[in-house]
Symmetry: C2
Subunit: 364 residues, 2 copies
């Protein structure tokens, strides 16, 4: 039938060669091989029910015979999506972010999306650069932990047409979806634990106040103290703030020396994240000091290795994998529904108590 059609056409001297000159097979090669039109091959690929079974099988045979691999760029140009999602993180050596990527990847893989990973290291110019490249690639969406408090460029990026989900960062006015952890609560439960252990003078080692997570965790400390004052006759509690330029192992190590001669009435240290706490631990251990045996230490994040350090670190557990997974799900939702309403998913952290904070005996 279709063979007759081809004969009726005559002059079809493109022949039935699958590929020429080792070039990759295109949809035209498949069509020639199966003696159907380009549109029929496209229908077999994208809307198979619209094609008669016999034709469909012939096309599928042709696809196999020619070794056809579809060209996403061509589809994209004609109006299809890129099947790629960008994920922009702050630091690829922080297990917090790599777990998060893992969660996102596991959500996106079954949907056939590829994940383009970009590390900004907190550098806004690099973030700008990455966003531009992602836009040229017309990624279908972006999951991003912002490098700066000011969301201006990210909102503009979104307004130019690319869906965005903020990760571990809320949207100020609900113009973007976001997935967050209640860091105020995280700060509260950490310091509450220390206070219940009897600590009354606590150091809080914090990163830059431009980072909202740092601010929230510190604010949670104040909330907890206020709550405890209202509820009981707790002794006066004092927080001593120390600032570091970055939330890294190195920054923690750098500050460790200044902790060695610390006021003896200080009996506990709370760090804004685990890398900082681990760095403090490492710096103190390296100095040969026994400070760690008399001072309680609490981190934040509960990264995989926090239970492995010495002493095992008490830490506020963040659902890192769930953050990434939920963010990706939210993005898929926004892509699937043009009437999608932006929302925030907020996770509640919990405290994992280990040796670093509860082997101490405080004499009141």
């Amino acid at each position: 039938m279709v063979g007759d059609n081809g004969a009726t056409r005559g002059g079809l001297d493109d022949g039935t060669h699958p590929t020429k000159d080792g070039k990759k097979a295109t949809i035209r090669d498949v069509a020639n091989w199966a003696k159907v039109s380009l549109g029929t091959v496209s229908n077999v690929l994208n809307d198979p029910d619209r094609v008669a079974a016999a034709t469909r099988n012939r096309v599928l045979d042709a696809i196999e015979a020619t070794g056809f691999i579809r060209n996403i760029a061509a589809r994209q140009l004609r109006g299809g999506g890129s099947k790629a999602i960008g994920i922009v993180i702050l630091d690829s050596s922080n297990p917090f972010f790599t777990e998060m990527i893992r969660g996102a990847e596991d959500a996106l893989r079954p949907e056939g999306y590829l994940l383009i990973a970009c590390s900004t290291d907190g550098n806004e110019e690099r973030e700008t650069n990455y966003l531009r490249h992602l836009e040229e690639h017309q990624v279908e969406g972006v999951l991003i932990t912002p490098s700066d408090d000011n969301l201006g460029q990210i909102i503009e990026f979104h307004d130019r047409g690319t869906p965005v989900v903020l990760v571990d960062r809320e949207s100020n006015s609900g113009e973007l979806c976001s997935v967050t952890v209640d860091d105020v609560k995280g700060g509260s439960i950490a310091v509450t634990h220390l206070i219940e252990e009897g600590h009354r003078k606590i150091v809080f080692i914090n990163g830059p106040s431009s980072i909202r997570q740092c601010r929230d965790r510190r604010a949670g400390v104040d909330v907890a103290i206020r709550t405890l004052k209202n509820n009981s006759n707790t002794d006066k509690i004092e927080i001593v703030d120390i600032g570091v330029p970055a939330l890294s192992i190195a920054a923690g190590e750098d500050i460790a020396n200044s902790l060695l001669d610390i006021d003896p009435s200080i009996t506990a240290i709370m760090c804004a994240n685990d890398l900082l706490a681990i760095g403090v631990m490492r710096g103190i251990t390296r100095s040969g000091s026994d400070l760690l045996s008399r001072i309680a230490l609490v981190g934040y994040d509960d990264i995989t290795f926090s239970s492995l350090v010495s002493p095992p670190l008490t830490s506020v557990r963040q659902p890192q994998y769930d953050l990434g997974h939920a963010a990706a799900k939210l993005l898929l939702e926004e892509l699937a529904d043009a009437t999608h309403r932006h929302r925030e998913i907020r996770f509640t952290p919990d405290l994992v108590v280990r040796e670093s904070s509860c082997k101490h005996s405080i004499q009141s």
Copy 2:
């Protein structure tokens, strides 16, 4: 001048609107705004010296006024590259791989490439799937740590036109570039250290022999023993092999219990990687046993956290960042030079001695 040309043409009623209906500006919008041809805009973007300064500035102004963002898919379709590189790794929660990605990203970023990250978790089917998706996207190259010993599908993938660099894996017949570490040597120096510390009966906990790194590291043990026998009157050295199904913390923990009642003449344990060693450490610590204070332990990789565990782990240091960085450089080299000759870059590991292996006193 050019304005006159436009007037001469007449009938150009496309007008000078930057965008219509909120759509993204295309090269046509820029051309209309600047009153030049599409080709001139393209020349300004790609070959600016070919355009007169006055014209060039007008086009640049138009690009800014219209908010033009280039469309990579269109360029790709016309024959340009995708400016994307795939990186296929085994396990995104192993810091070995995340450091490697970091190295690759740092090499590729300045060249304007985006990095598509794919985790196979050692699953060959997932590797197949990812390679197919990467091929549809026409990535300019792929860095890959294979999930299987058999490189068949990767070689076919490469033969279909996408440059490939193997990472931490050599190419059997030099048909692919590769970046490796001499794991035979790594195994040798690790066991040599133990033997020089006086150990004569040593457990080697290894992963699946289908993984070439596992085989090489174990082979390095034999090389070292043979060398020592030839060079001195060393006592008889015995290696006790234990196999585990995966190179993970969990696999290490699972095997820890069977180590508790181990033959007392065994004084040292060598693990095929750090995660395994850390898992063993964790399992033994959890059981409350003091085995770690009488047995030496050596890992392999020297991931970031190995120095932080208790006791700090002696480990063969792999240049993870350098592996990724060198692999990316090799790929860029292959992309830049059609006459490129495939080669292997081989790094030599070194041993980082820490507390886990050298605080023991062996009575001969």
